[in-house]
């Protein structure tokens, strides 16, 4: 039987950071219940395999990485991207709302594929570099840049211009966009 001390790192992480982890996963799932499931799966995935007692920050970093992979794997298995394909059609030619809020962001994120959504969250919430995102998602740098480019294009169509974009993402847009935006 496991001793209590063996489970302390897990119990500690759940108590201190459980809520924050669910809020993080919510950015990916768009739904709190789904986010709780993803976090639970991520915790199990990490702690079943940990052999040694982890440093608290390291444990959380592993779990945040696992949240991404559980989320992506869940979508790969369910092929839900095919189901939301129709939502990716260009929105009506009306102008974006006067003052887009995080609720509009929530709706806009829901129209992105899971990989695009993950790339946006890792870039603009976790503040990772493209190589770091590529590593976290198991993709090539170029693939990540493509996801970011496509995602930003869609988000801007729904929400308006986004001044807090990183300079290098904007450069990529300038080079590759084909005049979709006015």
């Amino acid at each position: 039987m496991r001793t209590r001390s063996h489970d302390e790192p897990l119990a500690d992480l759940v108590a201190r950071r459980g809520e924050a982890l669910v809020r993080y996963a919510y950015l990916l799932t768009g739904d709190v219940a789904a986010a709780q499931d993803v976090v639970q799966d991520a915790l199990v995935k990490v702690f079943v395999r940990l052999r040694t007692r982890p440093d608290a920050d390291l444990a959380e970093a592993y779990v945040r990485r696992a949240v991404v992979s559980v989320f992506i794997d869940g979508h790969r298995r369910r092929r839900r991207f095919a189901d939301v394909q129709h939502l990716l059609a260009e929105p009506d030619a009306g102008s974006p709302p006067d003052a887009a809020t995080h609720l509009d962001l929530h709706a806009a994120l829901a129209t992105l594929g899971p990989q695009e959504r993950t790339a946006i969250v890792l870039r603009y919430f976790e503040d990772l570099t493209v190589p770091e995102i590529a590593d976290a998602m198991g993709l090539a740098d170029g693939t990540v840049k493509r996801y970011l480019h496509n995602a930003i294009g869609r988000l801007e169509q729904r929400l308006g211009a986004m001044p807090t974009l990183r300079a290098d993402d904007r450069e990529a847009l300038a080079v590759t966009s084909t005049g979709r935006r006015s």
Binding site: V44, R76, L105, P163
Partner: protein, 477 residues
């Protein structure tokens, strides 16, 4: 008008009502504890058939003998140890693996100048290596589980528990089939799980996106492939076990881990999940996904085998273990005559699909491994050779050979084939690895089970008939 993406994401994360106990600890703890416990593979003490990989299954003419009354001389620390010959039988192995074992044998001899290692292997098409050694070898392939139990029962295997404590600690769960109780009688050098190897180009040609995650999606893929004239699944049912594995994999999806554990412990199969598995398999068979002569096709050795069909793009999928890329490479070498042929570029892998709403653990995987055991009257140097085989250095080279997945975790990044890496991830992600059911249940129940499953494929049997055959075999005196 403008939108602040960074601020917006922050606000979005803070927005919803998330309670401070958003992640209840007890269910996570239960799953983690179970996951750690279940990573050890369940073993029964019944004798079992060992899965034959590669060449035709053979029966060794010997059983390892119990030690003589007076112990044979063991390695001493005298100034000049007596010359010693260790016979090492590695069974049916692809060429790349035989090459590795030969190198390992030479390196061991160099490190131990008084030792000669006599390496022997099986290669059906080479007259010098057409049968197992006539005398019981010192170090030899051992499939574990019931096969191990039978040899331990005759006293023929050396109890190596105290010698390999470090290796057991390193390898972890996969050692379980080579243990009886707490005593260790062998070590695995490879362990893997089964899944669908598939032709990514044929899938693309048919317009299939992604890979089937559920049995329903597998049925969809089968229909789509047939529409464009592609044989969906290659199956070598002529060998029996490839067909049986379909039932094993569906059982893993329909039966909860508890139901499986109970069935294994008591050899009682009255949980409805077993018949349910047969019904789902019958549906799959009725979809006619296999090549025309699948009932008589062999699975691996010949160019007209089911593996040959997959290798040459004549079928889109095949359900097989992690050894398959090296089998496919061998097929292509035979078919094309190109000595350097490797597994096809178009090869991909996905785990056995899930069954929505069923009781099984969706991450559970079916698998098994190969190992080596030491004869009870072998010299001590034989144990040293076994430990050398399981060293990180040799395990890395095993991984690099592409012949399979090493069991030593530190060596696992030596696996460069992206498909084998996917299999490795699937294995590491599996909360539960179930040994091949015929190995687990023993040759009496396993043999009856396999026959009854094949009968389902030929139309002579029923889902209930499989359970009835197993129950009758378990009850036989």
């Amino acid at each position: 008008m403008e939108f602040d993406l960074v601020g917006g994401l922050r606000d979005l994360g803070a927005a919803p009502d998330v309670p401070s106990d958003a992640v209840p600890l007890p269910p996570v703890l239960v799953r983690v504890r179970r996951g750690r416990a279940l990573r050890t593979v369940a073993v029964t003490a019944g004798a079992a058939a060992v899965l034959a990989i590669g060449a035709v299954a053979y029966a060794a003419p010997w059983q390892p003998a119990p030690p003589a009354a007076t112990p044979t001389s063991t390695a001493t620390s005298g100034p000049e140890p007596e010359p010693v010959t260790i016979t090492w039988w590695v069974g049916a192995s692809p060429d790349a693996l035989v090459g590795l074992w030969q190198t390992v044998a030479h390196e061991f001899e160099e490190a131990h100048p008084h030792v000669t290692v006599d390496l022997q292997w099986l290669n059906g098409s080479d007259p010098d290596h057409a049968r197992p050694p006539a005398e019981p070898p010192d170090v030899f392939v051992q499939g574990g589980a019931g096969d191990l139990a039978a040899q331990v029962a005759t006293g023929g295997l050396r109890d190596i528990t105290d010698d390999v404590a470090a290796e057991v600690e390193t390898i972890g769960g996969p050692v379980a089939p080579w243990m009886i109780g707490n005593r260790v009688y062998g070590l695995p050098y490879r362990f893997g799980i089964e899944g669908f190897w598939y032709n990514t180009e044929l899938f693309e040609q048919a317009g299939i996106e992604g890979t089937p995650a559920t049995l329903d999606e597998l049925h969809d893929a089968i229909d789509t492939l047939k529409t464009v004239g592609i044989t969906p699944i290659a199956l070598g049912a002529g060998d029996g076990w490839p067909a049986a594995h379909y039932w094993y994999n569906v059982v893993l999806r329909t039966c909860s881990p508890d139901a499986l554990a109970r069935a294994q412990a008591d050899l009682v199969f009255d949980d409805p999940c077993f018949v349910e598995a047969g019904e789902l398999l019958a549906e799959l068979i009725a979809a006619e996904p296999f090549q025309e002569d699948y009932l008589t096709t062999t699975s691996q050795v010949t160019t007209s085998s089911s593996a040959g069909l997959l290798a040459t793009g004549q079928a889109a999928m095949e359900l097989m273990g992690e050894w398959h890329p090296s089998v496919l490479a061998g097929n292509l070498r035979d078919i094309t005559g190109d000595e350097d042929a490797t597994a096809p570029e178009f090869l991909g892998w996905f785990p056995f699909p899930g069954v929505e709403g069923a009781d099984g653990d969706p991450t559970a995987a079916l698998g098994g491994g190969d190992g080596f055991a030491v004869s009870a009257d072998a010299p001590d140097e034989a144990v040293d050779l076994l430990r050398y085989v399981l060293s990180e250095d040799v395990q890395r080279r095993f991984g690099e050979s592409g012949a399979g997945l090493p069991v030593v975790p530190a060596a696992q990044d030596s696996v460069t084939d992206p498909n084998l890496q996917t299999v490795l991830e699937g294995m590491n992600d599996a909360a539960y690895v179930q040994l091949w059911l015929d190995t687990s249940y023993g040759p009496v129940v396993g043999g009856a089970m396999n026959e009854a499953i094949v009968a389902l494929f030929t139309g002579a049997g029923t889902p209930q008939g499989i359970v009835d055959a197993m129950t009758a075999a378990a009850a036989a005196p």
